[in-house]
Symmetry: C2
Subunit: 217 residues, 2 copies
Amino acid sequence: MIKTTTGPGRPRRKDPDEVRQALIAAARDQFAQGSFKGVSVREIARAAGVNQAMVNYYFGDKRGLYEAMLQETIGPLIRTLEEAEARGEVARLEDLIPRHAATLAANPWLPNLIIREVLYGESEFRNLFIEKFASRVAAALRRAIDGGRDKGELRDDLDPRFGTLILFSLTIYPFVARPVVERAMGIPIDDAFAGRWSEQILQLLAPPKPPPEDEDP
Amino acid sequence: MIKTTTGPGRPRRKDPDEVRQALIAAARDQFAQGSFKGVSVREIARAAGVNQAMVNYYFGDKRGLYEAMLQETIGPLIRTLEEAEARGEVARLEDLIPRHAATLAANPWLPNLIIREVLYGESEFRNLFIEKFASRVAAALRRAIDGGRDKGELRDDLDPRFGTLILFSLTIYPFVARPVVERAMGIPIDDAFAGRWSEQILQLLAPPKPPPEDEDP
C-alpha cells in the first residue's frame, strides 16, 4: 500500500513520511481489533510492511505510536478549537459539532478504541485519553458554549457544565453504541448520519424561535 | 446476608424467594466484575451462600440467571411503559426519564454490563440485550415521544426517531462514560446526579416558552 520512489528492479525505498503514515494506519487497524497490550509492535510493523525498528525510530515505543495515532485523529479537532481561541475568537458549535461527529463516523476504529481502552475496565490509556484529549475537548466545548450563549446563539436555559455533557453524550453515544442504535432504533450509522445528526443537535441547542401566533394578531 | 427463618441452634432454612434474590444479587456482583463466560455458576452460588444446584432449580442455567437479573432490573421500567399503554395511556417522559436515569445510577453494575456485553466485542448477550430490552425501550420511548408531541408537551421540531436516539444518548452515556464525565468534565455521578440531569433533559425537550418581551409591550 506504500508508494515507493523506486522503478522496476530497483530496491524499494520509502519516503520517511510514508513510513510514519503507514505505521499509524497499521496501528489503527490493529488496535481496532486488539487491545493495547494484546497487539505487538512486530504485528504493526508487519502490517505496515516496514522493519520493526522503524516504530522505535519514529515513535520511541508502542505507547508513542498509540499516542501519535490519537493525536493525528483527534489533534486537528483540538487544534481548531485552541487556534480559534488563540486568535481571540470563540470556536462556534456550528463548526465543532459536525466536525466532532464526522471524525467519529470516518474513523470507526476510534469508537472501538474508546470502548476498549477508556470505558471497558482499567487501562493506562484511560488516563492518557482523559488528560490529553477528553479534558481538552471538554474545556474547549465549555468555552464555546459560554461564547455561544453570550452571542445569543444558544438557548439560555443551558447550564454550561451540563451543556458539555449533553454534547459529549450526543456526539459519542451513537458511535460507541452502534449495534444498539442500528438494530434497536433502526437508524443506520452511515455516511449521511453525521450530518443529519449534527443538525438535530444544533436545533436542540438553538434559542427558541418566536411563536408563529405573533404574526397574526 | 440472607435472613433465615431459624432460631439459634436450629439448622439454617432459607426462604425460596430469598434464595432466588440472593442468587440474583450475587450474579450482579460477579457479572459486574467478570464477563458472562468468565464467571462460573459455582462462584455465583458460593457468593450467594447457597448450593450450586439452586441455580439450575430456579433459573435453568447460567443464561437463565443472567436474563432474570436483567429482567429484575430493567423489567419494571419496561412494564411501566407497557402497562400504561395497555390501559390506553401514553407513558409520559416526565416519568420515564428520571426512572431510566435512576435505574442506571442505582445499579452501577448495569452500565458495566452494557459496556462489557453489548458495546465491547461480540457476545451472545448483545443479541439478547438488543432484542429483549433495548428494542422494547426504544419502541416505547418512541411512542411516548409521539404522545408527548401530540399533547404539546414536547417541542415539535423533534424528529421522533432521532428523539429516541437523543434520549438513549443522554440517559446512557453519562453512566457508561463515568470516568470521563467525572474527571474531564468535573461532574460527579453521585446520588443527586440522576435527578438534576433528568431535569436538564426534560427542559431541553420541552416546547419553547413564550419570550418575556410579550409581557411589556
